[in-house]
Amino acid sequence: MNLYDLIVKKIKDIQGAGDDAAITNMSTSSMLTAEITLISSILVALVMLRMVSKILMIVAVLVVLLAALVAMPLMPRFKNEQNDSMAAMMFYVMLALAIVITLFYWGNLNV
């Protein structure tokens, strides 16, 4: 499917519940570990926002914590996202290119 349909499908997947594929015992422990690692590293990394403003940090940590708890099985979705298909990789490359160029071009105004 082309890039546009892929984007629409992705948004629908993020909103809806993930597919409940059966996971064996060995995979379950890996998924749980990956889940805990992902959420805790993101929360600790957000604490670094204390250099920008302390209130922003508290708000961001609480918001991300609540969002993660609501959308809890994050890791299966992350794993499906980072697959080998050309369309998915191309989407992320274009996204990264857009972010890098925008950040560098407008970033000098603030720093």
Binding site: M1, N2, L3, D84, S85, M86, A87, M90
Partner: protein
């Protein structure tokens, strides 16, 4: 309205790059993707050449009988042209390898569609 040569070249180069990125990302046929990638390389090479532009500049070959100071004031900047030659060769070899891989994939899978071959 006369547009400056350098600005026109830069504008063309950037349009070539954008068209190339669009083709490589959105078109399904593998050969069309490779043509898009060739466009990106051509756009960047044109950009490089446009960096060496000098209004009213002469070709940078120092013939006997030229005054050194007049030559250094008037010659176009030769470095980008040397760089572009190397860049064209690199682009050609990369295209060759990619097309070779596509030939082998076509023989194995019988299709040129990126969805089928590269999609899984």
């Amino acid at each position: 309205m006369v547009i400056d040569v350098q600005i026109a070249s830069l504008f063309t180069a950037v349009s070539l790059i954008i068209i190339g990125i669009f083709a490589a990302a959105f078109l399904d046929n593998l050969i069309k993707k490779v043509i898009g990638l060739a466009f990106i390389g051509d756009g960047v090479n044109l950009f490089l050449i446009a960096m060496g532009y000098k209004p009213g500049g002469i070709v940078y070959i120092y013939l006997p009988g030229m005054a050194a100071e007049w030559f250094s004031q008037n010659a176009a900047y030769p470095l980008p042209f040397a760089m572009v030659l190397t860049s064209i060769v690199i682009g050609a070899s990369t295209m060759a390898v990619m097309l070779g891989i596509i030939i082998v994939l076509y023989k194995k899978r019988g299709s040129l569609s990126a969805k089928e071959i590269l999609g899984e």
